[in-house]
Amino acid sequence: MTAALQLSGLRKSFGKTEIIRGVDLSIGRGERHAVIGPNGAGKSTLFNLITGRFPQSAGTITLHGEDLAGKAPFEINRMGLSRSFQITNIFPKMTVFENVRCSLLWSMGYRYNFWSMVGRSRALTEGAEQILEQINLTARRDLPAGVLSYAEQRALEIGITIAGGADVIMLDEPTAGMSHSETDYIVDLIRKVTTGKTLVMVEHDMGVVFGLADQISVLVYGEIIATGTPEAVRANPKVQEAYLGAALEDH
């Protein structure tokens, strides 16, 4: 079985600075994979490379065995990969319902359709209602997304990310800036909505990482120094030295 996502020899330089310095990583189908590492390790850059926001300098990225080189974000999305953003990235002036409905359009085959009324499609409306139910925002459906609370906006963003039915979900710091109770809520939500899908996430909160991930990769200065189960990574002396020591003591 091919891996859901396979990175080999991946490199990225901005000018003379090499941010990603040869990453090899294989993420299996249905795996929940967390990428951790200190600030500036290149986690977000790695995300942006995979999702086609930046072109890589060298190496290959394959999604379900297909090379992603030169693909635009929308093409990668159509191949079944969807992502959220570190900074909340929704459609603030549109209603919550509209946000979710828009994220269903492509996957429901509407493409650039300008002859059917979105309001008349029962499948669209029900699909969007289901997503809203899953992310517990049904009560907010007619509000402009921009007025939701921060945690609700994050939940909405996760809803938008999963709505298109992508099987590889990438979440960039889904709990950044949240209180403890909000974090617990989002973690439960993520677990619920990504069942049966491949999850790749960048996260700072070790509680979230160890609670959610089956596999952890530690990225330090653009290189992966360890990959394995949470226990193995926790026990790895290299990891402890480079990064985790302090963080683990806190927990």
Binding site: F74, N77, M94, S107, V118, G119, R120, E129, Q130
Partner: protein, 432 residues
């Protein structure tokens, strides 16, 4: 997973469907009836001319708002799509062999197709990016095509433009469109059809994604849509309806010149749309009605109408970015709370005083203009149906007094209005 996905289909989904299946027909019916009976109320030829111009401007402004309001694209050169559509129609009108077999009411379709064709060519490179890049390309292309009017004389007719006679078309149900009123109904039908189509367009997947791309192009890309193609389709659709507006202009005025293409015209449509409000579908309609009235009625009263319009535009941009439509819709929450009535008196006080100030200021401006520019010995001016001598002291005292007192009172009563506004927008018994 599966049982999470199977929600009770009876409740929220059903309520929602019921809501969205019913198209809001009432405003459309009212609009249609209004269009039907307006010529019976305003029977003068000049009134019908104004209404024709209004309807054409409405179509053009709605088309423009497909870009600005719906798609987030600021175009400084949109007149060229209307203009080229109009010029193309003028050539069709002048092509006797073809035109004598074409009923005039179908002509706007050709205008639309030509506008759309040009939009496809320009859009293929201008819609790659929104924002400044798009705005600059639109300005450049607008200038370029306006400059072509003196270069490609065969198509644009040089400085005198192209004129023709609409009555040579195939009579349509016996109507030859000799009369202004016949043209009025032709334009009115096209207004209803175009407005309805543009409204429906905004409800399609592509129309919805135009909003999404406007709000957040990057996120839209991660939903599987190419922001560039979504913009392109909006641009092409907008070009089509602009072309229809151009064709109706050709039918109504039977002449097109460089003025239909140039940046002034493009600027006017931006102004009209913004004045009306880009955030709501009906905004540009309001803008077009108000603008046309100002342009035609006020311009008969004063040479300085453009000056006043400029002030109104600047005030709108600075204080009411939602335009007229935004101003109206601001009152919906208060109406829902049933407290709209409480705003009446405060409004009367502040706006009444403000109006007095505006009238005073306008009188001052007119008098200054008259003193500076009237021919020597002409001391008589007529402002507000009163004729007086601008070199006397009393008119100046009155005008300055009205301005100062009016604006002073408006300022003094403004806090009361703000308080009333806050009160009207707070549910009774709320903690605030």
């Amino acid at each position: 997973m599966t049982d999470q996905l199977t929600t009770d289909p009876t409740k929220p989904a059903q309520r929602m469907r019921a809501g969205s299946m019913v198209l809001p027909l009432t405003p459309w019916v009212i609009a249609a009836i209004a269009l039907l009976i307006l010529p019976f109320i305003f029977t003068a030829n000049s009134a019908i001319t104004i209404m024709n111009q209004m309807a054409i401007t409405i179509i053009f402004a709605l088309a423009y708002n497909m870009l600005l309001g719906q798609g987030g694209m600021l175009s400084f050169g949109h007149a060229v799509y209307a203009g080229v559509g109009g010029f193309a129609c003028m050539h069709i009108i002048n092509n006797d062999a073809f035109f004598s077999n074409l009923p005039l009411p179908l002509l706007p379709i050709f205008g639309g197709l030509f506008g759309m064709g040009l939009a496809m060519i320009v859009g293929s490179f201008s819609t790659r990016k929104a924002g400044t890049v798009f705005a600059m390309i639109s300005l450049g292309v607008g200038e370029l095509i306006a400059a072509c009017s003196v270069i490609i004389v065969a198509f644009f007719g040089g400085e005198e433009g192209i004129s023709g006679d609409r009555t040579y078309g195939l009579p349509f149900l016996g109507v030859e469109f000799l009369q202004q009123i016949e043209v009025y109904y032709l334009i009115a039908v096209w207004l209803m059809v175009s407005a309805a189509l543009m409204y429906l367009y905004s409800r399609t997947p592509l129309g919805r994604m135009a909003n999404a791309v406007r709000d957040n192009p990057e996120r839209a890309e991660f939903l599987g849509y190419s922001a560039r193609w979504v913009r392109f389709y909006s641009f092409v659709a907008s070009g089509f309806f602009a072309g229809i507006a151009g064709a109706l202009f050709a039918i109504n005025y039977e002449i097109l010149t460089e003025e239909n293409l140039n940046t002034t015209q493009s600027g006017i449509i931006l102004l009209v749309t913004f004045l009306g409000g880009v955030g709501f579908f009906f905004g540009p309609i309001l803008g077009a009605i108000v603008f046309t009235l100002v342009q035609t009625v006020l311009s008969l009263q004063t040479e300085l109408w453009g000056f006043y319009l400029g002030i109104v535009f600047v005030v709108t941009v600075m204080f009411f970015p939602g335009g007229l439509a935004g101003l109206i819709m601001m009152h919906v929450p208060a109406k829902r709370l049933g407290k709209l009535g409480r705003l009446g008196l405060p409004y009367l006080k502040t706006l009444g005083a403000g109006a007095l100030g505006c009238l005073g200021a306008a009188a001052l401006i007119e008098m200054v203009f008259h003193v500076r520019h009237a021919s020597v010995g002409d001391h008589e001016i007529t402002v507000y149906w009163t004729t007086f001598d601008t070199h006397g002291v009393l008119p100046w005292v009155l005008a300055i007094g009205a301005t100062v007192i009016g604006f002073g009172l408006a300022r003094a009563t403004a806090p009361g209005l703000v308080a009333a506004w806050n009160d009207a927008n707070t549910p009774d018994g709320a903690a605030r």
